[in-house]
């Protein structure tokens, strides 16, 4: 049956009757793929142009409006051997891109000015050492001012704006001393130049802006890149729904295009992509991704269905609804707000440093000023010396110390298939001393698997697999997959709520519930061995087998738990599932502290209690029910298979099935934090050397320039060590 698809929401209609669409392409890795796609599409008469972005793994296709349906583009790409998913550029991404371009523009201007002013400054310094004509020096200083003042006004805006914002909120951040340093340096230099003095600090001020902008830009780049790739992953998940039209026909539509009030058909074996009320049909629902509960629940007319659940047995018609009050989603939303509130108390390392740093530096400058006046110097000269103290202590290295480490660590994590959503998550992760795991979908894989494979004869598994392949039921799928996904058996009859049957060698073969296959004796034996597993029976004449299907631990779960313990972390499981399902998992991993049957608010409460006891909790979870806990924890990690809300709430998202990235992230983040502190201490040591020189009045512009660029270089080189030397395999 070919299904009609409607992707018109993704199409953007440009000027001159040109329609365009952006697609995320799966498996595009090399230049060869790029050529294949571009040339393959360009050979088509209807398509005006196709341009691949290899860095983002996306392709933009343009065609004449009305000539082509967007679905045809995907078909053409499929013919070329690529699976593509349409992509809806969101507003947040656009604003991020704009911010990045703004910073790059500032960076370009600051770099240009820094170079030209340095050209003038070096001439002045060498002239001062020999016999520069004072008129020439003044001319050079005025030229510097001409370049520096507009540059500072333009490129210094990110710092000025942030400083003003902080001061308005009654706080001090790193940008306050930076802004003060820049403004005073420029102001003093203008006055000095006016008075035909020997020294002006235009070069120092602009260099400071340039170095700090590099730090800012790196930070922004990291965030944008993460978001872009996360956006691709969301598109690759390609969530669609089968929308029922008024005439009874169905259209496959992306979830983004479904409106409240639409009716959607959900087939057995489909993951539900919408929230709504069941209109017709009866079925069983696996809500393990939403609540953690692995036992299927019955659902009928007027039942409420949540996105992320799996429809097991019967087709359902659902009327889509926006989250209404009093529902689970509403409750989760409320909890999320509470959780976010409780977390916002965390103060970033850089802000903590700024809190200590700003008053200290300002006090030193003031003391210098008063000290020199007491010593008998004219107030103008004392002021100049005090300002040089501010310039030389300006946190150039401090501004780079943390973003540089974050960027290097984020790319190291990315190679290990871990995506960092916020830079400061690294600091928080490094502080964690307790890991709280969710069970379903986090410690275990989200899809169930056949677990007693060794006990089943291969020929029986093959026969059962062929029968199972005809069904969409997750338990049947697990068996089909274990049998190597064979071709479905012919003429299979589906018995609703019971199982499947077909004729083989003249006898009926059945697969389904224990009673359907009359396999009670066999089932009791298997149930004793695998008490938590779901059982599914197979009978062919006298031959009878019972399969145990259960959620398997994620690969590497045992090693990860072991490694986390070695890193000195305490481990707990907090699950929404039954105690009987949680206990064996905890036992297999050697985790002694576990709780079962917790509701979302109870999970959050647990975390709040732990936080009150002074614990720094790392929450690892994936379900909708974990989202408040993820938002409320000190730091949180989600697998990529997690529900939308959980992923949005988590600080870090890892790809793939294996749990290993959790331990690796902790190890890398600790190293990153150590390097950040090292860098901060280096900045302190630097000040210990530089400040006495400045206080004594020996900080000429040459000394300031050398000290500033030297310290920035040291800090950056130190940051480059963040990606190396942590045990664990790399993925590239």
């Amino acid at each position: 049956m070919s299904v009609h698809q409607d992707l018109s929401v993704f199409v953007r209609h440009g000027a001159g009757g040109v329609a365009g669409m952006e697609l995320a392409v799966e498996g595009m890795r090399c230049a060869g793929c790029m050529h294949a796609i571009e040339n393959g599409l360009a050979a088509d008469r209807d398509i005006l142009g196709a341009r691949v972005n290899l860095a983002l793994k996306r392709v933009t296709v343009e065609w004449k409006d009305g000539v082509l349906r967007p679905e045809a583009v995907i078909e053409r790409l499929a013919k070329l051997g690529f699976t593509a998913y349409p992509f809806l550029p969101d507003g947040e991404r656009d604003s991020d891109t704009r911010e990045e371009r703004r910073l790059l523009r500032y960076l370009g201007v600051a770099g240009f000015s820094a170079m030209n002013i340095m050209l003038l400054s070096v001439s002045v310094w060498s002239g001062n050492a020999s016999d520069i004509d004072p008129t020439t020096r003044d001319f050079f200083h005025w030229l510097s001012a001409l370049i520096a003042l507009p540059t500072a006004a333009f490129a210094g805006r990110p710092f000025f704006e942030s400083a003003i914002r902080a001061l308005r909120a009654g706080a001090v951040n790193m940008d306050v001393p930076i802004t003060l340093g820049i403004l005073l340096a420029l102001g003093m230099s203008v006055v000095e130049t006016w008075n035909h003095a020997e020294h002006a600090y235009f070069d120092g001020a602009i260099m400071l802006i340039f170095f700090l902008l590099i730090g800012r830009y790196l930070d922004q780049l990291m965030r944008r890149r993460t978001r872009d790739l996360a956006g691709n992953l969301a598109a690759l998940k390609a969530e669609t729904a089968l929308r029922l039209l008024a005439d009874g026909s169905t259209v496959v539509m992306p979830i983004a295009a479904i409106q409240p009030g639409d009716r959607v058909l959900i087939q057995p074996g489909d993951r539900v992509g919408v929230d709504g009320i069941v209109e017709t049909g009866e079925s069983e629902i696996d809500a393990s991704l939403v609540t953690g509960e692995t036992t299927p629940q019955p659902i009928a007319r007027d039942g409420r269905l949540y996105a992320g659940t799996m429809n097991l047995t019967g087709a359902l018609t659902v009327r889509v609804e926006a989250a209404a009050t009093g529902t689970l989603l509403d409750e989760i939303d409320r909890l999320m707000a509470r959780a976010v509130e409780s977390r916002s108390r965390y103060v970033k390392l850089s802000d903590r440093a700024a809190r200590l740093y700003a008053p200290l530096v300002h006090a030193t400058a003031l003391a210098t000023f008063l000290g020199w006046i007491a010593f008998g110097l004219a107030w103008q000269q004392a002021l100049i010396i005090a300002i040089t103290v501010l310039i030389i202590t300006c946190p150039c290295a401090l501004g780079l110390a943390i973003p540089a480490v974050q960027v290097v660590t984020a790319s190291a994590l990315f190679r290990r298939k871990v995506m960092l959503k916020q830079g400061d998550a690294l600091e928080r992760l490094a502080e964690a001393d307790l890991v709280v795991f969710d069970k379903t979908g986090t410690l275990t894989l989200p899809e169930p698997e056949l677990i007693d494979r060794g006990a089943i004869p291969a020929d029986r598994l093959a026969k059962a697999g062929a029968l199972a392949a005809a069904s969409h039921h997750p338990l049947a799928r697990a068996i089909a997959q274990a049998a190597g996904a064979p071709a479905p058996a012919g003429s299979v009859t589906e018995h609703r709520g019971l199982g499947l049957s077909c004729l083989l060698d003249g006898r009926e073969m059945r697969l389904g519930s224990i009673a359907f296959c009359a396999a009670e004796a066999e089932a009791a034996r298997v149930a004793a061995q695998h008490p938590t597993a779901s059982l599914i029976a197979w009978r062919h004449g006298a031959e009878c087998t019972v399969f145990a299907v259960d959620q398997r631990l994620r690969p590497g779960a045992v090693e990860t738990v072991q490694r986390l313990r070695e890193l000195g972390l305490e481990l707990r499981i907090v699950s929404g599932d039954r105690l009987e399902a949680v206990a064996p998992v905890a036992a297999a991993l050697g985790i002694t502290q576990f709780q079962a049957g917790l509701k979302p608010d109870e999970k959050l409460q647990q975390l709040e209690e732990l936080a009150r006891a002074g614990r720094k909790v790392l929450m690892v979870g994936d379900g909708l029910n974990d989202a408040p806990a993820l938002a409320g924890a000190h730091v949180s990690i989600s697998p990529i298979s997690a529900s939308h809300l959980a992923q949005a709430a988590a600080d870090i998202v890892f790809l793939g099935d294996a749990l290993g990235p959790v331990a690796e992230s902790v190890a890398l983040s600790r190293k990153a934090r150590a390097l950040m502190l090292e860098n901060l201490w280096f900045a302190v040591a630097y000040n210990f050397v530089a400040v006495p020189i400045a206080v004594a009045g020996f900080a000429t512009p040459l000394v300031a320039a050398a000290a500033m660029s030297g310290s920035s270089l040291v800090v950056t080189l130190n940051a480059l060590r963040a990606g190396r030397g942590v045990a664990g395999k790399r993925e590239d």
Binding site: C30, A31, M34, H35, E38, N39, V52, N53, L54, A55, L56, R101, L104, R105, G108, V109, F112, M115, N116, L119, L120, D133, T136, F139, L143, I147
Partner: protein, 59 residues
């Protein structure tokens, strides 16, 4: 030292030209994809669209 009056504006002018070129590159989206263009150079496919290159191409 009068030559400085000419040399410095000249140096600045060159610098500004570079800056303008950088802005133009940004505006025309040359930093959007940093990997693809490097490979695109190696492609000969664009020759096919050029009629003068026709004789070299086996059809």
């Amino acid at each position: 030292m009068d030559i400085l009056v000419i040399l410095f504006p000249l140096a600045l002018g060159l610098g500004l030209t570079g800056l303008a070129a950088f802005f133009w590159c940004m505006r025309s989206g040359q930093f959007v994809d940093l990997e693809g263009p490097g490979w695109r150079v190696l492609s000969d496919e664009d020759l096919r669209a050029d009629p003068r290159a026709e004789p070299h191409e086996p059809r």
